[in-house]
Symmetry: C2
Subunit: 458 residues, 2 copies
């Protein structure tokens, strides 16, 4: 039995490793176009500042290590076509340029996502980079070393753009961030965006919101970025926007693509083609809160999906399933953790919910305990049922609050369930009542008021 995995980052290598555990006798080959497999892509921004001290730290496992586990990983190999009728693949060794055919009994597609450069005049100038692969960070770091850029512009205020802004600022660059919407971190509510902008500005990052980039200006090499209201000097531009699922290979083979533009699979990670599974950043899943298809290219989710795809591909059965996601995510800018799970107020309303929300500012430790810092938490509940639909947090300990709320939403809890929940308290770890309990209690008051309002008008 021969398993081929196309793509060797999080989902692909996880699928291969799981398949090996489930079936020690299976033949397993992973094709990876980039020069290294098993990259921790989420660590790339931290490589730019040297917070992660070497690129090797981001390579979780080398091809040699995979070989020890009896998994063949062929890097610099591009799969150019999948032929489902003959269960064969056209592969090109990009080092030699040589093409060859391979065969599979079972196939896992884990082609990930790629950066798309926006169609803006001047986008072909030197000094403009996406940041998606380790090879991108190699190129950026070589450019920084050789050209000593002093002024960086980040295009896009999503989490990658925000992380890159911090990391370039840390190595002494003058950093500007340009975002087309009226605030950064759009997936969050405005209270969180404000805090993120304040934290970056406090640390010297210039933020331009509500500004569309119109042109990159330069003479071979980028010198400035022009947008609606002005222009800002730039020796280096990083794109934090324009990531899309890599699905051309799959689409051409007849794999069904969903409305999000990513591959559609069932809960078992099976595509519409026989003996073909898919996992990771190239597929769509379901947001369990909204019930809608969602494309969520994140490393942890890719890992979980890879485990399911690898197990099912190895057994040939629907052994495991992946139920979907909540849209949980987190990032950090300087000292501010920023986390989210479920739906924002805007997303909940777009999904047809009337919402009741409570936002509070609390602390990460007892107020009297040394080093106590602020943290914001907002809970969003369905006005009719009281079910928790989403939570957002910004500050110290935002990761803990996000994960508590993610677990609550995962379990389908409502706000009354969170009022008496037995969480862990001690002065070094929080206020006597967790911010989650505080926010749920305020939600409870709002629901009471709403009920009384209804009673009063009757």
């Amino acid at each position: 039995m021969r398993l081929v995995v196309v793509g060797g980052v999080a989902a692909g290598t996880k699928a291969a490793s799981r398949a090996r555990r489930v079936d020690p006798g299976m033949e397993i080959t992973v094709y990876q176009e980039e020069p290294e497999p098993s990259i921790s892509e989420c660590g790339l921004p931290y490589l730019l500042s040297g917070m992660v001290e070497s690129r090797d730290r981001l390579i979780a496992r080398t091809p040699e290590k995979f070989a020890e586990g009896d998994i063949e990983v062929k890097v610099r190999h591009r799969v150019e076509a999948i032929h489902p009728n003959t269960k064969t693949l056209s592969v090109r060794d990009t080092t030699t340029g040589e093409a060859f055919e391979d065969r599979y009994d079972r196939l896992v597609i884990a082609t990930g996502a790629r950066a798309v450069m926006p169609p803006i005049p001047g986008a072909d100038l030197d000094g403009l980079f996406p940041l998606r692969f380790l090879t991108d960070s190699d190129r950026i770091m070589a450019y920084v070393r050789d050209r000593s850029p002093e002024r960086a512009v980040i295009v896009g205020g999503g989490y990658i753009g925000l992380e890159v802004a911090e990391n370039l600022c840390r190595i002494g660059m003058e950093v500007s961030l340009i975002e087309g919407a009226d605030r950064v971190a759009l997936a969050y509510g405005p209270e969180v965006s404000e805090r993120v902008e304040a934290e970056l500005e406090r640390n010297g990052v210039h933020i331009f919101t509500g500004e569309k980039v119109e042109e990159f200006v330069g003479d071979g090499r980028v010198r400035a970025v022009r947008f609606g209201d002005g222009e800002v000097g730039a020796d280096l531009v990083i794109f934090g926007v324009g990531v899309r699922p890599s699905v051309d290979l799959a689409r051409e083979a007849g794999v069904e693509i969903g409305a999000t533009g990513a591959i559609r699979t069932d809960r078992h990670m099976k595509t519409n083609l026989p003996d073909v599974w898919a996992a990771g950043d190239c597929i769509e899943t379901v947001n369990l809160v909204s019930g809608e298809a969602a494309w969520v290219p994140l490393g942890d989710t890719a890992n979980q999906m890879g485990r399911v795809a690898g197990t099912n591909a190895a057994t040939g059965e629907d052994a495991l399933d992946f139920p979907g996601v909540l849209g949980t995510g987190i990032f950090k800018v300087y000292d501010l953790g920023v986390g989210k799970t479920g739906l924002s107020e805007a997303e909940a309303e777009a999904a047809g919910h009337e919402t009741v929300s409570a936002g509070i500012e609390s602390r990460d430790r007892a107020g009297y305990y040394p080093g106590s810092q602020k943290v914001f938490l907002k809970l969003i509940a369905d006005a009719e049922t009281g079910r928790i639909l989403g939570a957002e947090s910004a500050g110290s300990g935002a990761d803990k609050l996000t994960d508590i709320c993610a677990t609550a939403i995962w379990a389908g809890l409502s706000y009354p369930d969170l009022i008496n929940i037995d969480l862990a308290y001690s002065p070094p770890f929080g206020p006597a009542l967790s911010p989650v309990i505080q926010a749920a209690t305020i939600l409870s008051g709002k629901f009471e008021q709403a009920k009384e309002g209804v009673r009063a008008t009757k």
Copy 2:
């Protein structure tokens, strides 16, 4: 309508504040025997080292502040008897010695817990202290100032003893801790106890386990502590053992006492006496995992109970309820967070469960992210149903892992629910797969093996 609250720490003051919010017209008096109300007792160990810089920081709200909110708080007043037939109280002003009668329409008993000195020869020597009230820490700090003790002995290796050991060590004392059982932190499994002992010993605390204190030796003032295998010099002894619910007043009034020795109430915090509620460290509740009565004297739980008792006493209705606890707790010794929720393996087995457990050592950040530290997590599941019964964690981020697991247990989740749970990942906040997901995945493997074992023997 007149509400009297007996006891003015966490549960009592919370009950009074809630009653005031629910019924702005109610007359509310709180009697408190100690000189200050509204004390954060959990902060007392940190006062000894100066980590909390002044005793005033631990007073959340003074009587003057309560008066502004139209709540009368009478400190240094001891309620000596409750007369339920006449709905009156015998009260003594301990400053003047004067006794008087008061009356109530509704009563909340929140008499808390007290320290009991063990009946050991020499326990009446100078230099021996419990640590329960702010007045205890006042006495200890006066003793430290006046007598400059160099050698401290802590009796008892529960969380208070462990916290006190750290805090006395921090101010340069030679600290020994004596525990009768064969390890400290007995509420946890042995993997956690080992880590706690190692962390304290690394910081210079001498630990004697399996040693029963036989005598305090001295000449008016304590000079040594004698136990089975030896003797250790001591200029100061702190008891981290012997806390009991303060129920004499309630018992004499005819309030029913439960098997744990604490007051029995229903879910609405109602006692068996009409118009009498009780809350906080003086009452027992139910452990929702074991289903058994549990006495859990903790500040956060007292707060939650106080809210329920205050609301119900103000409305005279069963407006709110308190469902019970999971036994969640956390403490810190130096850099080691130590948290627990639900049952330990031993507790689960005592409650009649066969268990399957998975203990893992993981990290609090991605391995490549600077400052990444170790954290241990153990999940304990019911062998038959797979339901999560308990979790223990020790290390950096133990608070987050404990709270995720507490939420999962609160919601009745089983190990398969935790394998694909959508928690927040980013390199500064954890490994790509949360230790909770890692441990649940290992549990899953153990359940699979057990099933195969059963199949093989059939």
